[in-house]
């Protein structure tokens, strides 16, 4: 028996020794290497780099891809990047962009006007692309020829030497800021590929790029290491390796020094990070909307019943209780505190009696079950918030059924529409995107039909050339929104950048991490 105990003890000791010998070393950031957590495409770990034509803003996008212009942190003003400058014609319908010479792709080929023209033409031909690009490039003359067809060129883009000339159907005031988000891809690598499936092309596992970094190691499922691109003509980056990983526990990885940078809007992670003294944070006001899509056919067909939702729910208590300072209650697409907010829109006030009166006025059918749905079922904060919303609606006599969508969000929201209220989020590039939803035939259009009022104002908004004009149109849009209430704005959600205190040279003013801007990545250094 003694022998038996001894052998078990010896095995235990050996195991403990083995574990301590093999124990994972903590990797602190140095100028040789930093580690960044990203949500990468493909699922199941690091599979591929997301196409920058769909979602940009990740560090890998900042580090590898380039646009004609580089946006400043406000995402509105721009500086030259691949292009040296631009010029609009007097009528605002012709834009001439001059490409810089001497810029090279990482495979040594020159970046040319052909790459720019190919990229813009093909953005409208891929199956997965960001709406801000689609909406802007649809304004180029001849865009309908390439959308959903096999035609490869729009008549509205021509070149002359290093100049690229865009002919627009009407002036588009956001065209240049949008171009600053649009990453140019190499035509000589991608021209023969199936463009419809570009987002899943093998190119995104080891892309030919023109930014300061390129892929050094791609370990599928594990990590990507970015290394300096020796063909990059600008200032050479200080940090020699950027490791891109997927983290299952951001806080634990940050605490243990295995991570140096990430961004999030998850309230639990943000709260937990307050105990990590080795990190600094930058909470950012971004246009991240959360709102209820209201099905206007059924119990909420009368606008008064939709208005009742402003008063039936104690938004001012629920949102701070769940999101703290990260959440801000909004009563309009142009929230209070933002330029051109319509101050005549009453702030939300919890008033059950008023809600009940409005419902009575609308002849609300209390016998019908209100189906409240979400596609954010993996986010505990959303589930808690909507459970509370369901409870408060029940308190004014409604029968509420709160469930996650069974199918995919796009089909459920816009095709099936088996709900009365559905939570939706929108990470908008500008407020125009919030209002543009009302005119989108592929989404809201299916639910609320043609909206000539919104369409006309949206069209005027993108053509507005002065602040005064913009303000006037935004005020009209807000009034129209309040008259219809097809969607009920709930709150904004701040995005927070977390970065190791070891890293310096980062921007003094961070921009929206969901977009690309001048974040000075080549100047980052780590102690």
């Amino acid at each position: 028996m003694r022998k038996f105990h001894k052998s078990f003890g010896a095995i235990g000791l050996a195991a403990a020794l083995a574990v301590s010998v093999l124990a994972a070393p903590t990797q602190a950031a140095t100028n040789n290497s930093i580690t960044v957590a990203e949500v990468t495409a493909g699922g199941g770990g690091v599979n591929t780099i997301s196409t920058p034509w769909f979602a940009s803003g990740s560090i890998s996008h900042h580090a590898m891809f380039r646009a004609l212009f580089k946006a400043n942190a406000d995402l509105v003003s721009v500086k030259p990047d691949l292009a040296s400058g631009y010029k609009f014609s007097k009528d605002g319908k012709t834009l001439t962009v001059t490409l810089n010479s001497g810029i090279k792709w990482s495979d040594g080929k020159d970046v040319s006007v052909d790459d720019v023209v190919w990229s813009i033409n093909n953005l409208l031909r891929v199956s997965k692309s960001n709406a801000i690009f689609v909406n802007a490039f649809k304004q180029i003359v001849g865009s309908e020829a390439v959308l959903g067809t096999n035609t490869t060129n729009m008549s509205g883009i021509t070149t002359k030497g290093n100049d690229i000339i865009f002919s627009l159907k009407a002036p588009v005031n956001t065209f240049v800021p949008v171009l600053a988000q649009f990453m140019i891809l190499p035509k000589h690598v991608l021209a023969g590929e199936d463009i419809l499936k570009l987002d899943t092309n093998n190119y995104f596992r080891n892309p030919v790029v023109c930014g300061p970094y390129k892929v050094g190691t791609f370990s599928q499922g594990n990590f990507i290491t970015l290394v300096p691109n020796d063909k990059y003509e600008g200032t050479k980056p200080i940090i020699k390796e950027i490791n891109i990983i997927v983290s299952s526990n951001l806080v634990a990885d940050a605490k243990s020094g295995k991570l140096d940078y990430f961004t999030t809007n998850d309230p639990d992670t943000i709260r937990a990070m307050s105990s990590v003294s080795t990190f600094k944070s930058a909470p950012l006001d971004v246009l991240f909307y959360r709102y209820l899509v209201i099905n206007p056919t059924g119990p909420f067909s009368n606008v008064k019943s939709r208005e009742a939702l402003k008063y039936a729910i104690d938004w001012n208590k629920l949102v701070p209780a769940i999101y703290g300072q990260q959440g801000k209650v909004i009563n309009s697409g142009v929230a209070s505190g933002m330029a051109f907010h319509d101050s005549s829109i009453p702030a939300y006030k919890f008033d059950k009696a008023k809600a009940t009166a409005l419902l009575k006025e609308a002849n609300f059918d209390f016998s019908k079950t209100i189906r409240l749905r979400t596609y954010n079922q993996t986010q505990p904060a959303v589930m808690i918030l909507l459970t509370a919303v369901a409870q408060q609606l029940t308190e004014i006599g409604m029968k509420v059924e709160f469930l996650p969508f069974q199918g995919d969000a796009t089909t459920e929201l816009w095709t099936n529409r088996n709900y009365e209220l559905a939570l939706k989020g929108l990470s908008a590039f500008n407020v125009g995107e919030w209002f543009a939803e009302y005119s989108n035939p592929a989404t809201f259009g299916k639910s609320i039909g043609d909206q000539p009022g919104f369409t006309a104002l949206n069209s005027q908004l993108i053509q507005a050339t002065t602040l005064r004009e913009t303000g006037k149109i935004l005020t009209s849009l807000q009034k129209l929104e309040q008259q219809n209430l097809y969607k009920l704005p709930m709150h904004f959600l701040k995005q927070v950048v977390f970065i190791s205190k070891n890293i310096s040279g980062t921007p003094t003013k961070w921009g929206n991490p969901l977009y690309v801007y001048q974040n000075n990545i080549t100047g980052w250094s780590a102690n």
Binding site: M1, F4, V19, S20, L22, A23, A24, Q27, S33, A41, G42, G43, G44, G45, N47, T48, L124, V126, S127, K128, S129, N130, A131, V134, N135, L147, L196, K197, D199, T200, N201, N202, Q220, G221, N222, F223, T225, E241, I245, S247, S248, N249, A252, K258, Y375, G407, D408, A409, T410, T411, E412, L413, W414, T415, N416, K424, E437, N440, A442, T443
Partner: protein, 320 residues
């Protein structure tokens, strides 16, 4: 024996076809649209292109036609492409399978060695401390789900004392197998504990059963040393039922342990299945499900053959 094999193969083919039909049509009953699932609800501005993609992927064809097309492709080894990553599914499996094999084989070997040793020891010393310990281990292993064991180990060894990594198979800078051995410890330990439980009980009971057999008593009465009785007579004759259990664990080699891989972010077939289900990547779901089903069928086929070799009465019963 030949007729027994023919009968088994005759059952195998229609079963495989039925399973393939079930997998295909069940995946199509899902309310998730594979094309719409690729884009978030506010990005549907390019619906013309999405419709073109639907056409290109054959999703507008009649469902029966789609099934036979898929079956033909599977039979010819053309597994198709992942909707989510665009990679060839054969390529994904080739990349992910080594990770799963590394994890599952390590756990399978470790759990088998430990279970056989402990089981033999426990059976031979019934009521002794090893027997009690093995029973406690078995109850704990059976009662606690593997993901719970994984989370507990992760909490202690990765988060609290920070001895081991929180997950992943390879971290930047890890080049050799020795470098990445720490990443293997927790997932293998989790899976080993989970596998150990049932196997210990099987081995112990089988040993106890064999110990009561006449040939063991004969060997002892002949004065054969006890260690030799245990090894040559008891242990070898106790392996039959244990081998059957091990054969039924073969499908794990393909499917991996989905939850353990998820807990430790292990980039194997298990996490591929989770990612595919989350993203409605039905071509991947169908191929992996089909592969797992095939391995289960083959494993059960092998078990039948092993059983029939060990016990000819199985063949006779099968014939009747």
């Amino acid at each position: 024996m030949v007729s027994f094999l023919i009968r088994r193969i005759a059952i195998f083919v229609p079963m495989a076809l039925t399973i393939s039909a079930l997998i295909f049509f069940a995946s199509r009953l899902s309310p998730i649209d594979p094309i719409n699932a690729m884009v978030p609800p506010d990005q549907a501005a390019d619906s013309a292109n999405l419709n073109q993609l639907r056409q290109e992927l054959g999703l507008n064809d009649h469902i029966i036609l789609q099934y036979f097309h898929w079956l033909k492709n599977i039979a010819t080894g053309e597994f198709g492409y992942s909707l989510q990553s665009g990679q060839k599914i054969s390529e994904i499996l080739a990349l992910r399978m080594p990770a799963t094999l590394e994890l599952v084989l390590s756990a399978l070997i470790l759990s088998t060695l430990l279970a056989l040793t402990l089981g033999l020891f426990a059976g031979a010393n019934k009521g002794g401390i090893a027997d009690k310990l093995s029973r406690i281990l078995a109850v704990v292993g059976i009662a606690m789900p593997d993901f719970f064991i994984g989370l507990a180990l992760l909490n202690i060894f990765a988060y609290r004392v920070s001895w081991l990594p929180t997950g992943n198979r390879v971290a930047p800078g890890q080049v050799t197998l020795w470098d990445r051995l720490p990443n293997l410890i927790l997932p293998v330990a989790t899976l080993t504990i989970a596998m150990l439980a049932v196997l210990i009980r099987y081995t112990r009971n089988s040993v106890l059963d064999t110990l009561n057999k006449d040939f063991v008593k004969t060997a002892r009465s002949k004065g054969v040393p006890e260690w030799r009785v245990l090894y040559s007579h008891v242990f070898r004759n106790s392996l039959g039922p244990v081998m059957v259990l091990l054969a039924f664990r073969l499908p794990l080699l393909v499917g991996g342990s989905i939850l353990v891989e998820a807990v430790f972010q292990w980039p194997g077939v298990g996490t591929t299945i989770i990612a595919a289900v989350t993203a409605s990547d039905y071509p991947v779901i169908m191929v992996v499900s089909m592969l797992i089903a095939m391995v289960i069928l083959i494993a059960s086929f092998l078990v039948d053959i092993v059983k029939s070799i060990l016990d000819p009465r199985v063949r006779l019963r099968g014939g009747n």
